[in-house]
Every structure is written in structure tokens, then in C-alpha cells.
């Protein structure tokens, strides 16, 4: 019986641990976001927050819905696979309300050379020019039709 003489000490220690455990569980439940752990070790609501962001670039499918004429011209030339917003910029707002948001025409003087100025690191087959020497100060669209800058006979090349 001597062994358990001072068991009251053990009860106090056990009580402290128990209270600590209860406090831990209670605080954790209070501060952990409700959706934490819904899909994994993260806040499930974060997915909804990230996906609800609005898009800026409408995507070429949407452009082509209203501008099939441009698509037709473009499909014939070497720019067939260059998407509309690559040159015209982000236009999701225009696609949403075409009359309210009017796209601004891109500045040809700076636009074309972005891709077509000469650079040693560009793939050798890619059409590139020294703009100053090639255009002699003229704008690119004086000679080239931007939507279809192919080399067919007749009209702008």
C-alpha cells in the first residue's frame, strides 16, 4: 500500500495535462479556418478565391465568334496561328460589352519589331529584319498587311 501513498500528486499532474490537452483542442478548433482540410492540408476556400478571379484575355475563340472576316483573312497567311490578343492586347472587357469598351489599334512602329527585329538568339528560320535598314523609316503596314503578311501575288504582301 505504501506505493500509492501520495497518489494525489499524480492526479494533479494528470489534471494539468488534461486541461492543457483540452485547451489545445479548443484553441485549435477556434482558430483553424472552417474549410481547412476539406481537400488536403490547406484551406479549401482558397481554391474558390483563386478561381473566381476575372480573366483579362478573352481567348481567340471568343474574338473569332464576332470577327469571322478577320479570321478568314488571317487563316490564309503566316499569322494564322498568332492569336488576336497577342497583338491587340487583353480584351475580355471588350468581348463582354463590345460597345462600351473599344479596343485601341496597336502602334505598328513598336509592335512588329517586337517579334521581327533581328536577333542572334532567334531561330534562324524565323523572318527577322534590321528594321532601320529594311523599312527606311516607313511603317510596316505601308507594305505589309498585318493580318496576312504572306507573299501571295497582288495586293499588299
Amino acid at each position: 500500500m505504501n506505493k500509492f501513498q501520495d497518489y494525489a500528486h499524480l492526479i494533479r499532474v494528470a489534471a494539468v495535462f488534461l486541461l492543457g490537452a483540452i485547451a489545445f483542442v479548443a484553441v485549435r478548433a477556434a482558430i483553424l479556418p472552417k474549410s481547412f482540410g476539406r481537400y488536403g492540408y490547406y484551406r479549401g476556400d482558397a481554391l474558390q478565391e483563386i478561381t473566381s478571379r476575372l480573366v483579362a484575355y478573352a481567348g481567340h475563340q471568343q474574338c473569332e465568334g464576332c470577327h469571322p472576316d478577320v479570321l478568314e483573312v488571317k487563316a490564309k497567311g503566316v499569322h494564322a496561328h498568332v492569336n488576336c490578343e497577342s497583338c491587340h492586347g487583353p480584351l475580355a472587357k471588350h468581348a463582354e460589352d463590345p460597345s462600351a469598351v473599344k479596343p485601341v489599334l496597336p502602334n505598328v512602329a513598336t509592335l512588329c519589331v517586337r517579334c521581327h527585329s533581328e536577333n542572334i538568339a532567334k531561330p534562324s528560320g524565323f523572318p527577322q529584319v534590321d528594321a532601320k535598314e529594311h523599312a527606311q523609316g516607313q511603317l510596316c503596314n505601308t507594305c505589309h498587311q498585318p493580318h496576312s503578311p504572306g507573299f501571295e501575288a497582288g495586293g499588299k504582301k
Binding site: P33, K34, F36, Y39, G40, Y41, Y42, R43, A46, L47, Q48, E49, I50, T51, S52, R53, L54, V55, A56, Y57, G59, H60, H79, H81, V82, N83, E85, S86, G89, P90, V113, R114, C115, S117, E118, N119, I120, A121, K122, P123, F126
Partner: protein, 241 residues
């Protein structure tokens, strides 16, 4: 009501309150993450270093000036010196590249972005679970839960993360998660004029990129780190770090 009845009622009330807190479940969106597994093909043989992707990314995602979720590097490798390439990336390649003063050797552009690794070091080190993997293979950051400890920024072996100067959280490419879940491609892939960047759904057997990956010698960056990177490069030179 006696004490015994109140004690019996308490757990039931707690469970009921839990349902009240949970609210009504959100309407399931039209997108099932389990049906997709996202990656990207970056074709170095097609990249012209125009920087359209960098600009589009900044416009689509409000990336602050001087910070990049995606950027383009220009490599110059003199003869056989693949251990010491000369790399430049003025303003992340956002405004394109001026003609190089270095002549000869190998020269090419390398577009870079988050590799959305399957075993991502950044996710492993986050102490609070603010960066995570989605079921469709995208690594995202919960901006409302991130503490801003910057541990993940140090952990990323590709240097793809940065500290957002005003939001004060970690930040990186989301693979345009708000776009791909709506059936659109990423902003960078949308504007790439040469098709050097193409989004790939690795769970969709009809995706043309899958056919490309099966028939070409592609490589990921730093494969020896076994991060499970999902950005596949075609024509990747051994000098690229």
C-alpha cells in the same frame, strides 16, 4: 429540464451548430479537377524572345513591375563551354531583347515559369499549409493564409517565387488557374505568337501536346533534383540551369 438532460443535449447542440457554421454547400462548378493534370510544353526551337508572355502574364495577373511569374532568358554558349553560359534577361525579357553583342557560339531563348512540380520543395517547407497542390496538379498559394515567412521562396530550386511588395505574401505563377478552370488556356500560351508555349492536359489522351511529348526528346529543368517538374522543354541545351 434537469442537469442530466442538459448534459445529454449539449453534444447534439454542438453537432447542430457545426452545420450552422458550415453554411449551405457551394454549387459544384462545371469543372472537375480530377479529370485534368496540367503541364506545359516549352519549345526552345520556336521561342523568339519577344516577351509577349511576360507582358500578358503581368496584365492578366497584376504582377508588379520588376517582379515576374514568368520570364525569358537569353543564353549564349561559346563553342563547347556549356558549363559557363552567358545569360541575360533585361527586365525579364518583357520588352524583348536588344541585338546581342556576343557573336558566334550557340544562342537561344529559354522561357521560364513555375514548374508545378509533383513533389514540390516549396509546398513541403510551408509551415502553415498556405501553399498546396490541387487535384489537377497545380501548385497554388493561399494569399489569405500565407504568413510571409519566405521559406518557400528559398526552397524553390528554380527561383520561381517572389515576395509580393504590397500584399506581403509569397507569390508565383498559378498556371492561370482562374482561366484553365474556365476552359481557357493560360495568358502566356494565349499570346505566344509562335506556339513556343503550349498548355498540356496530361490526363487527356487526345491532347496534341501528349503526342508531341511521346515523339520528341523533351527534358525538364534540373531533373537530378527529382522535383517532378511538369514544364517540358523541347530542344533544351545542357547549359540551361
Amino acid at each position: 429540464m434537469n442537469r442530466r438532460q442538459i448534459l445529454l443535449l449539449l453534444p447534439a447542440a454542438a453537432i447542430a451548430w457545426d452545420f450552422v457554421l458550415a453554411g449551405t454547400p457551394e454549387e459544384a462548378p462545371n469543372y472537375n479537377a480530377m479529370d485534368h493534370w496540367w503541364g506545359m510544353l516549352l519549345d526552345i526551337t520556336k521561342c523568339i524572345g519577344c516577351g509577349s508572355c511576360v507582358q500578358a502574364c503581368a496584365k492578366e495577373n497584376d504582377v508588379p513591375d520588376g517582379y515576374f511569374r514568368t520570364w525569358v532568358e537569353r543564353y549564349h554558349v561559346d563553342d563547347w563551354h556549356i558549363e559557363s553560359p552567358v545569360v541575360d534577361s533585361p527586365d525579364g525579357g518583357k520588352e524583348g531583347f536588344p541585338q546581342s553583342e556576343l557573336k558566334g557560339g550557340k544562342n537561344f531563348f529559354v522561357p521560364k515559369l513555375c514548374n508545378h512540380c509533383v513533389d514540390s520543395p516549396c509546398t513541403q517547407v510551408c509551415p502553415v499549409g498556405a501553399t498546396f497542390h490541387t487535384a489537377d496538379g497545380v501548385v497554388l498559394i493561399d494569399y489569405n493564409y500565407c504568413l510571409g515567412c519566405r521559406y518557400c521562396i528559398q526552397a524553390c530550386p528554380y527561383g520561381c517565387r517572389f515576395f509580393h511588395p504590397t500584399r506581403h505574401t509569397a507569390e508565383k505563377c498559378t498556371l492561370c488557374y482562374h482561366r484553365i478552370t474556365k476552359g481557357l488556356t493560360t495568358a502566356c500560351c494565349e499570346v505566344c505568337p509562335t506556339g513556343a508555349r503550349q498548355l498540356a492536359d496530361l490526363k487527356n489522351p487526345n491532347d496534341p501536346i501528349q503526342a508531341f511529348l511521346k515523339t520528341h526528346a523533351v527534358q525538364v529543368l534540373k531533373p537530378h533534383l527529382a522535383t517532378g517538374a511538369k514544364m517540358f522543354y523541347n530542344g533544351l541545351d545542357g547549359s540551361v540551369r
